[in-house]
Subunit: 378 residues, 2 copies
């Protein structure tokens, strides 16, 4: 096994730093303490489903880990929101430290908490990429008829920083959506039926998320072998889908009963086999090939005539791979742009070449043929 292969299989490919990290496990305990105990810059993607602060009670924790008591009439709104903000900023800061430079985070929430989470993300230095609307195909109605049916939840996708070269599998998303760009509104049913985990007859967790939601997120924003962390693991939907898709995962969960259910759930799963997790790649994933390589390899001979659409413009290939268009010279891209009066141009698709039957074929076809022959040799 060569070094390149080893790097890929250990998930170190394409990442600047990758400290040793035990993955595919659940860490019991407070998520802020647990994250601070993990090595900085070690995680590719974080998915977080934090408490929604529905009535400012329940499972809300202060930054020091102590539990906030249930709704208390003595608390005014400001101090309650302030407590939620402190908690939010603390876990977002710990998450930020954990991410690799090109890492990213997804969070989910409702109108009760998502505005505070979104503002905190911006304040902590994350760079927002999209807000995504999960449109519930089967939401719970508003029984009293006092408001609109609350039929969606909001997700926020953010990179670690403005300069992060985050992972986005654009072509995979497009393929999943009938070959049109995936939009920011996703129609997905809520988690019901067999997918809904039971614990002694009752539902195991009150807010279990559908696997379809995590599936789309992980296909869109991770590569095989990436490390995915979920600091509010619950019953482990993130881990289940990560395992299915051949991603490594770490879950943090404070409640033993949830952790136990999650462990059983994930242990019983089998990952998709081999090629099943492959996704559509675009041209960006292909190795770059200078036009000059085709010339020096004889795929395109110097002096060959190239034509724009409808033969309205023509140019001649020179020995160094540049073009001569009526006396002006430059790259295939520069001359394509000049021919159209545009600021830029993809010369591979603009220029055409005559095949043996005199038909015009895009230059890009020659590049593809060149790739196939060189790949076979390598």
């Amino acid at each position: 096994m060569d070094a390149e292969r080893l790097l890929v299989e250990t998930g170190l490919s394409g990442r600047k730093t990758a400290p040793r990290l035990a993955t595919n496990r659940i860490i019991r305990g407070d998520c802020i303490e647990a994250m601070n105990a993990l090595p900085a810059g070690s995680v590719d993607l974080i998915f977080a489903d934090p408490p929604y602060n529905l009535q400012l009670g329940g499972d809300l924790h202060r930054p020091d880990g102590s539990q906030v008591d249930a709704v208390d009439d003595d608390w005014d709104k400001f101090s309650s929101f302030a407590a939620y903000d402190r908690f939010t900023r603390a876990w977002l800061k710990a998450a930020h430290r954990l991410l690799k430079p090109d890492g990213a985070i997804w969070t989910i929430g409702s109108y009760h908490n998502i505005f505070r989470v979104g503002a905190a993300l911006q304040d902590e230095g994350y760079w927002l990429l999209n807000d995504i609307v999960w449109r519930k195909a089967n939401p719970m109605p508003n029984f009293k008829g006092t408001r609109f049916t609350n039929a969606h939840e909001t997700l926020i996708w953010a990179a670690k920083s403005e300069n992060s070269r985050y992972c986005f599998n654009y072509h995979a998303m497009k393929a999943m959506n009938e070959d049109v760009q995936m939009r920011s509104d996703w129609l997905i049913p809520i988690c019901t039926g067999n997918e809904r985990l039971k614990d002694g007859g009752a539902k195991a967790h009150p807010t279990q998320k559908p696997e379809a939601l995590l599936y789309r997120i992980l296909v869109a924003c991770t590569r095989p072998g990436d490390v995915v962390l979920d600091p509010f693991f619950g019953t482990g939907t993130t881990g289940a889908v990560a395992k299915l898709l051949g991603r490594r995962w770490i879950g943090i969960e404070r409640e033993e009963k949830y952790a136990r259910v999650a462990e059983q759930r994930i242990a019983g799963l089998l990952p998709l086999e081999g090629g099943a997790i492959e996704i559509s790649e675009g041209k960006r994933a292909e190795p770059r090939i200078p036009f000059g390589s085709l010339v020096e390899s004889g795929f395109v001979r110097p002096g060959t005539r190239l034509w724009g659409p409808g033969r309205r413009v023509g140019a001649s290939v020179r020995a160094d791979g540049s073009l001569d268009m009526a006396g002006r010279t430059g790259s295939i891209h520069q001359m394509g742009a000049a021919a159209q009066g545009l600021p830029s141009c993809n010369g591979w698709t603009f220029w055409h070449i005559e095949d043996d039957d005199g038909r015009l074929v895009p230059l890009d076809a020659r590049r593809q043929a060149f790739r196939l022959t060189t790949a076979a040799g390598a």
Copy 2:
């Protein structure tokens, strides 16, 4: 007409105080100063479309080389999140003072600003009721393939306080949505075509909102005669729809060029007549493409006369998409059934509408046209 009915139609129902207030006018100037000069507790509903603080980078070109006309106006530039927050909290505070005790506010924004606006609303004492997703039927694509198509904007609906008995015309919303509860995700086309105001050939305002959006909001959350204030009036969509629906309005606008366009626009409008703006008291029917969508989008105007086969029965379209047939009201299906003495009826095929030449065309043809423009409606 009984007292209750009179109160509803004059907009005095359920309102504690109603100071004298000059309405149906545009105030030129800074919205915070202008709001502070108006009497406290005098406004029923505020609709606010504040600057989004987009933070755009360089030029953006479409794949065909054309340049996107960016929102680069000075009014959208802020030096920092902190500066934007100060601005936001200042106008929200002034708006809060203006509202009647049972008043409410709607704001709109994108992921660039909406989280800060939402958090500020909570901090200023407003009580969030819903977040609403405006799903754009025809959004601008992501030309570089770097993110999900940004296909929606977010609105927040909030009452002045937790104790406000805010106005929500539940049955009108249900009637507008084929007698199922209106959800929190709304599919509405962006503002284009004849509706898009021009000023010397160019678009008059870079971010003009569709009337269908304001139509739904005002039908849902106001009564005839209510005072609606828009502190970022722009080209006056709020005022135009308010006038159409028989609501009083106040617009505040800093830029003279926008105010002038808005003034002309609203002056040229006629309000809907009498019964057309009455909203449904509620009843029953069945789902699919909501007839109300055709009404709010302008495919069928309120007040339009519908005819049964051979013109043996007639009915008038009301503002919420229900019909008035000789005093009896209900959905297109209910009224079709009633007209024939049958238990049920497909209103789409029973009712006909006059085309420009006076010929009767089935309502279903309009639905088909609507489907084509909104891409399936679902």
